[in-house]
Symmetry: C2
Subunit: 337 residues, 2 copies
Amino acid sequence: MVTLAEVAQHAGVSASTVSYVLSGKRSISAGTRQRVERSIRELGYHPNAGARALAGKRSNIIALMIPLRTDLYVPVMMEIAIAVTTTARAHGYDVLLLTGEEGPDAVRRVIGSGLADGMILMDVELADERLPLLRETARPSVLIGLPADTTGLTCVDLDWSATGALCVEHLAGLGHRDIAVIGEAPAVYERHTGFAERTLDGLRSRARASGLRLLHRPYEGGYDAMALTLARIFDERPATTGFVVQNESAVEPLLALLRRQGRAVPEDVSVVAVCPEQVAVQTSVRLTSVAIPAQEMGRRAVERLAAKLDGHGGDEVVLLPPELTVRSSSGPAPAAS
Amino acid sequence: MVTLAEVAQHAGVSASTVSYVLSGKRSISAGTRQRVERSIRELGYHPNAGARALAGKRSNIIALMIPLRTDLYVPVMMEIAIAVTTTARAHGYDVLLLTGEEGPDAVRRVIGSGLADGMILMDVELADERLPLLRETARPSVLIGLPADTTGLTCVDLDWSATGALCVEHLAGLGHRDIAVIGEAPAVYERHTGFAERTLDGLRSRARASGLRLLHRPYEGGYDAMALTLARIFDERPATTGFVVQNESAVEPLLALLRRQGRAVPEDVSVVAVCPEQVAVQTSVRLTSVAIPAQEMGRRAVERLAAKLDGHGGDEVVLLPPELTVRSSSGPAPAAS
DNA sequence: GTGAAAGCGCTAACAG
DNA sequence: CTGTTAGCGCTTTCAC
């Protein structure tokens, strides 16, 4: 293994000089800089991460905690993880991957050991048990998702409430009066995941404001489960003409069953989805949708964290405004019969 | 921050004693051990990761390189990543997440800096440019996937060739004589991803051996693309009654279009998929399929790597045998008309 | 603009 | 069974 001392010797300078050309923390004459850089290249030197962390008091690693569960939309998680990793690299950080499995202990361990300089948490619940720890710690963190109480925390998230409102607004504007919401799996609501509840709030309050009727049904399973769900919806609200779907695995079953029942999209019923763009354009009917900006969320989270690690910027809640793209799955409500 | 020295003082022992109760590398009297453990708990001590890595010459971190691309089946990647992380934790390792973005440089950086003790690489191409580096390095690594030349490497993968053979065998046994393969996106074949090519080899050689006719079509896009693909297949081989699908995003379009064309599954045509179990049971027709054992692959990769890091076990290629589960999408070939 | 030297917190001989 | 001590490779004063 090549050490800094060896580089120094090879370049005919002192160790501190090498260290400083690497960090740029003091000015170096062009000549020495070049000699040092040349030695580094020739010897294939890579600074030892452990030594650096020990002496410099920062590991240049950020931890990313992802959920262990797989009932939530996986591609979104993956896209966020990748965006976090590439953005982190661009800021000089590596990413340590943690699963929710260890819970708060993982936070303690990583913070306590100085393994990571800061952390990004996904899948935040409204009353997450990791939050007290984060508030106490000196180590900065950023949440992707919004807990109930955000004091002392930095959060990045899509504005889910506005997302819900936007969906209802779109359907209301097209004349729909009875709307059904196909939601995430029941477990997602039961553990009070922020995004699911907030979306629902947005849907409901906007529906109330517009005088629309709204039905919400969690969904989980395959085609049979969807058939049941749909049957119940049309039993309870035969005049339903608008659907909002927030559950990737519900999209195809919904479209297929509507088709089978002779309900044309968008002539008879309209469908608005909350999903990544990629999904919206790959379905049998191109979906009018509000995009889940996974990459943007990952990127912004790292940028906020990097800023905090550099001493700039304090706590802040960043809510990304939703954007609705009209495609082929929504249209004017059919004339009331 | 609490240090080992503080724990030692609090417990009234020397630093080395504390270190040894932590590592278990020499026997400690029950009394001292308890006092030390008590002090650790009371002070909330966590060993400093950097210092440990520096002095101990191992970081207890393994690096996981995942592909940046998103044209390959994402949930499989995610499942592997999660299995790697939880298994690694069980063996005392943390996981550093790297994207393919940096390519071979990431390998150099991570190995050179001692950031990770070893690495696991996913999305291995047949002639991967990272392989020479891995062969040179003293640091152990495990590939998930199989390159063309495995000398000096440890690999874990599903036996894709056997997987292809198994699919053909199943269809052949049911009397199908003309088989069409709906494959991954063209780009996947173009960059010579091992699993795609090996599957094809298995399909072809078994088809040849059984005297079947086989057609292979890469697939990418939405329903329109599938309509075109299907039209071509039935033009070229009107007698096609068996399909093998290796491309998650092709499954629903295929089923929908067959239905629309009045071809019943499994009465008129049979479909065998290569996909995770979860996908096979969630489609409109429950699919006869060969499972992609993502968790198993992740787990095995970590176990091999941990063994190498502990000095046991050398290079080895672990090929997981494919398992085909018969569900509702395959049946006897229709009597030739 | 450059060096010398004192640690950072821990591990692992080496001694008893 | 336990203590003493010499580094691990780097960053960062302090001095010139």
